[in-house]
């Protein structure tokens, strides 16, 4: 198959020189091969006429050319390495930058499966195309001319014939193009499908086992692996068809050449040496094409991968942005202000309708509301994970769009509702927040999060491995690490989204007591279903139906006898039956 792919060529910026160099070195090898064939055939031809050829000379030339071939092959290896090394670096940089640009709000457009398939398997698969297929293609386009030039003395007609055939052969392979296009897409879809399903099976394996669904899962997996197998065999069939077609052309041409040469030889038009040379190099004419064919099914995987990669590169990551202008609120308010913010997720009706919230610097603001009322969504907007469809957000007077998201996140950080733990040690996970944190600082943060005693009690302390994505930690320990992380940083604004939902009662009380201390210096935004946690907040916003239904301090809200009052009294009833009391900031 002939695979010339624009996307791949475009992406090869930065390492094209290496590709050309590989092709050039391949030509050097060819020169060595031609030289070798010449000396051998010369010698063999001379066998019938002892004394006509200098045996030593033949052996020496043959040996020298063998060495040339060896050296240039080794050089090719080195350049191939450089080419692939560079392309890995360049492409991975691009794809990971894209992940960061997509940000939390849009990362779903890429998804874990696409990301891992493109960034790892995809880029590795593309290496064959860059380091083997493309140089091979260039080489295939040039080598016939060189061989023609070498052979024209020996037998002009045969040389011309071989040249013409080899020049036609490659473009003739284009014949399979439409099939190639169809195959590569369906191949990649099937690959992603399988990868995604496997990945999910791994993550959900405990749930699958718990509910005894493993057999069913294996059954579906079987259909998916079967489908992938069929897609590959589709490519293989095409590959072998192309192979068969080329081989047919190649061998018939070689055969015809042999006949031509034999005829010329019997008429005495050429010498035996020339005839043998034609035969040896005649095959060489096509050798390169056959090698190309060999790598073409792997190259096809690379082409399929590159399409996917370019689709990822093409995802729009544009975000509202304005030139930076320092401003102040007209009413002297200092803090973050959301004004008439509307936000809806794709395919979902408005989650936030016309929401206005003031987060005053140095104060504690609380967000409450039923599950699904949009509290986490507000926190995402505050962190600028995504931008609202309409409305305005200002950070101390300046429009959010004037800041790079990363810039804002130096001032605002959060404990998300679900903390992600990275594989590695406890220390690695803390350093996420502050790469240069000292041991003391880490201990201090762990102390505040009520985790220090546990950590220091471990034989490896901070260096304890947390297992795959924190698999060796309990639910509460994960959350505590999330809290410790935030306390390590020194952002002015801190958002706690259900930060202690899985933490035990004692720790929760102590943690909030510490955070209460903190609130003297920092600005806190607290999201919690445990209303007692936020009782002492300076201002409480009650979200309901995508709007701010009520606002005010605990006391003021209790007077209103609305949603908040209802929630508080319901909780009081529930808790009255319980044993423990509740805690507050």
């Amino acid at each position: 198959m002939l695979l010339i792919n624009k996307t791949l060529l475009k992406m090869s910026k930065g390492f094209r020189g290496y590709i050309a160099l590989i092709a050039l070195l391949k030509l050097l090898t060819l020169a060595g091969i031609a030289m070798f064939a010449q000396s051998i055939s010369g010698f063999l031809g001379g066998l019938f006429d002892p004394g006509s050829v200098d045996f030593r000379e033949s052996v020496r030339t043959a040996f020298v050319s063998a060495v040339i071939i060896l050296i240039s092959e080794v050089l090719i290896g080195d350049v191939e390495y450089r080419c692939t090394a560079k392309s890995r670096i360049v492409l991975r940089e691009r794809i990971f930058s894209k992940i960061l640009l997509l940000d939390v709000g849009n990362i779903e457009k890429m998804g874990t499966t696409h990301a891992v398939a493109a960034a790892v398997d995809g880029i590795e698969a593309m290496q064959i195309y860059y380091s083997k297929y493309l140089p091979g293609l260039i080489y295939c386009a040039i080598s016939p001319f060189y061989l023609f030039w070498k052979l024209k003395e020996a037998s002009f007609t045969a040389a011309l014939f071989l040249l013409i055939v080899s020049l036609i052969l490659l473009p003739a392979n284009n014949f399979f193009r439409s099939v190639v296009r169809k195959l590569k897409d369906s191949y990649w879809v099937s690959f992603l499908n399988l990868t995604g399903y496997y990945l999910e099976s791994l993550y959900g394996l405990t749930t699958i086992m718990l509910f005894g669904r493993d057999r069913e899962r294996a059954g579906i997996l079987e259909t998916k692996t079967g489908d992938f197998c069929r897609k590959i065999m589709g490519i293989m069939r095409l590959n072998f068809k192309a192979f068969l077609f080329s081989d047919l052309v190649i061998y018939s041409s070689v055969f015809i050449t042999v006949l031509m040469v034999t005829a010329q030889l019997s008429k005495g038009e050429i010498s035996l040496a020339s005839a043998l040379l034609t035969l040896m190099l005649g095959y060489g004419f096509f050798g390169s094409i056959r090698i190309l064919m060999h790598s073409s099914h792997q190259a096809l995987a690379g082409v399929a991968a590159s399409q996917n990669l370019s689709r990822i590169f093409d995802i729009d990551t544009g975000r509202p942005s304005k030139p930076f202008v320092q401003k102040e609120e007209s009413d002297g308010f200092v803090g973050i202000r959301l004004e008439n913010v509307e936000y809806s997720y794709e395919d979902r009706d408005g989650v936030l309708n016309n929401v206005s919230i003031d987060i005053e610097r140095g104060k504690t603001t609380a967000l409450v509301g039923q599950s699904g009322s949009g509290k986490t969504t507000v926190s995402g907007i505050l962190m600028r994970f995504f931008d609202p469809q309409s409305g305005e957000i200002r950070f101390e007077g300046t429009d959010y769009a004037c800041y790079e998201p990363g810039e804002l996140r130096k001032k605002i950080i959060m404990v998300p509702q679900f903390v992600s733990i990275f594989s590695g040690t406890i220390e690695d996970n803390l350093l996420v927040a502050k790469p240069d944190a000292t041991i003391e600082e880490m201990h201090k943060a762990l102390e505040l999060a009520r985790l220090k005693d546990w950590v220091t009690g471990l034989p490896d302390g901070l260096k304890t491995d947390v297992g795959d994505a924190g698999a060796k930690l309990s639910g509460g320990q994960r959350q505590k690490i999330g809290i410790a992380r935030v306390l390590l940083g020194n952002a002015q604004y801190i958002i706690f989204d259900e930060a202690t939902s899985s933490v035990d009662f004692e720790s929760e009380r102590e943690i909030w007591a510490c955070i209460g201390e903190l609130s003297r210096m920092r600005t806190l935004v607290v999201i919690s279903h445990r209303l007692s946690t936020i009782r002492r907040a300076d201002r409480i916003y009650v979200l309901s139906g995508g709007k701010v239904a009520e606002r005010g301090s605990h006391e003021k809200l209790m007077e209103q006898n609305g949603i908040y009052t209802n929630l508080v009294s319901e909780q009081a009833v529930l808790e009255a039956r319980g044993v423990n009391g509740e805690v507050a900031v």
Partner: protein
Amino acid sequence: MKKRKYGLMQTTGRLLAMAAPVKGLLTVSTLASILGNLGHIGLLGFGSMMIMRGAGFTGSGSLVLWGALTLFCSVLIFACRYIEGYVSHAAAYKLLSYMRVDMFKTLSKLAPACLVDRHKGDILSVAISDIEIIEVFFAHTIGPLFTVILLPAVTLCVAAAIAPLFVPALLPIYIIICVLFPIAAVRLGRNAGMAYRQRVGELKSLTIESVMGLKDIQIFGFGQRRIDMVQDKTAEINKVSRLLTMHRQIVTSAPTFFVYLARILVISVAAYLAATGDHDPVGVIALSFVVSASFSSTQSLTTVISSLLEAYAAAERLFVLEDMQPEVVEAENPVMFHKIERVEFDNVTFRYSTERGKVLDGFNLTLSAGEKLGISGESGIGKSTVIRLLLRFWEPTSGEIRINGIPLKEISLACLRERISMLEQETFIFNDTVAANIAVGKEGATLQEVMASAKRAQIHDFIMTLPDGYATQMGEMGGRLSGGERQRIGIARAMLRDPDILIMDEPTSNLDVLNEKEMLKTLEDEYGDKTLFIVSHRSSTLTGCSRIIHLG
């Protein structure tokens, strides 16, 4: 060189054993490979005879005979190439799909206990790309393995017939490039192959965690450092890929060098014969072509050696998983039961690993049918661990757990997990519809049952607001749900069954007050006669419990 856990012969043997289901296909492709290569020798040998006959250098045979033989060999080559290629790949890819499914079955025996230290990305890499690379072994190695012995033998016979002096000249070369060289090359390169496969697996873990943990990465401006980590890994991959590329180049070109040497040897011997006057130039010329053709098959082996390094590494990585000892092994004749009447923890001691301390030490608990047990206690004290032990995901270090007086070890795992329904501390959402996500709780659940369960879990009304209702897709890893919604899907899942014991691990951590109230009411109304086992640090959640244990 480091001693490997799986030797070369052992790995080869094990892979061959795995190929048993496609034995027939592989035999066909191997035969085709042998015939094709013989055809290649014939093509060049007969072709050169044809030229020389045509040119009148020899009188043996006729032009038509040599021509016909040449043509026949060409036809043989295509037919065999096609059959070999197609059949061997068909066999190989079929095997790979079996292997992937088998691997999942292995993993499900290992999960979760044996997998906490293994990164999911790395396991994924074994399942998808490592297994893919084993194709090289099945499709490209088995055939050449035979031809590499057979063809030199044929060539040597031809040589012996033409001029016996060629045999001692060629034999050492064959031994070097067909036997010694490939074995040495594989041995020397195995570490690099392993390093490459491992680094690729690590890069996958890194990528997956980067996407899944993107929120935490962005919160702390950790992104650039994460890219640096990826690039460090890429640099490591590049380092081993340099070794592999050089290995491949040397392994493919050094034999070529020997091939050229062999041909030089042929002419040297021919020159010697010519000098002694005892020579047959026609035979020598034909032999020279035959020799070069015989090498083409050996080269089909050497070109795969470098990929074979990866294939062996991949196989080894697969074997490591396959040979892992599961934490939990089902009894040979597992005991079944109908209803759980009593659960006993008898002096149970447990530690996850020897490096970590005891999580449970002499833990005793008796739970009888219909009891409502609440457990609270400090984070990390071992509440979830108790549940994991009861469900037999882990095995107690000492002591015994019994159900209805029968030791847990003797009980059928399927039966045990069938009679217990559980809400996990964190609900996993599958990339499927809402309905399918709830239906995970019970095999063959109808939509009616799913809806009834959703109502019980207070999630029905929310689902009805979704664009496609129960058929709405949930996307990857439940990212499209709020925390409470996710938890309620989990509750609906657990409530879909009709178990003897309902276990809930922190059922209300993300629920609002009203949800919590309704859930407690459902438990009271509908689970009155069931055994409940609720872990929570919220006192309100445990209010319906008849007995509360505080661990600590």
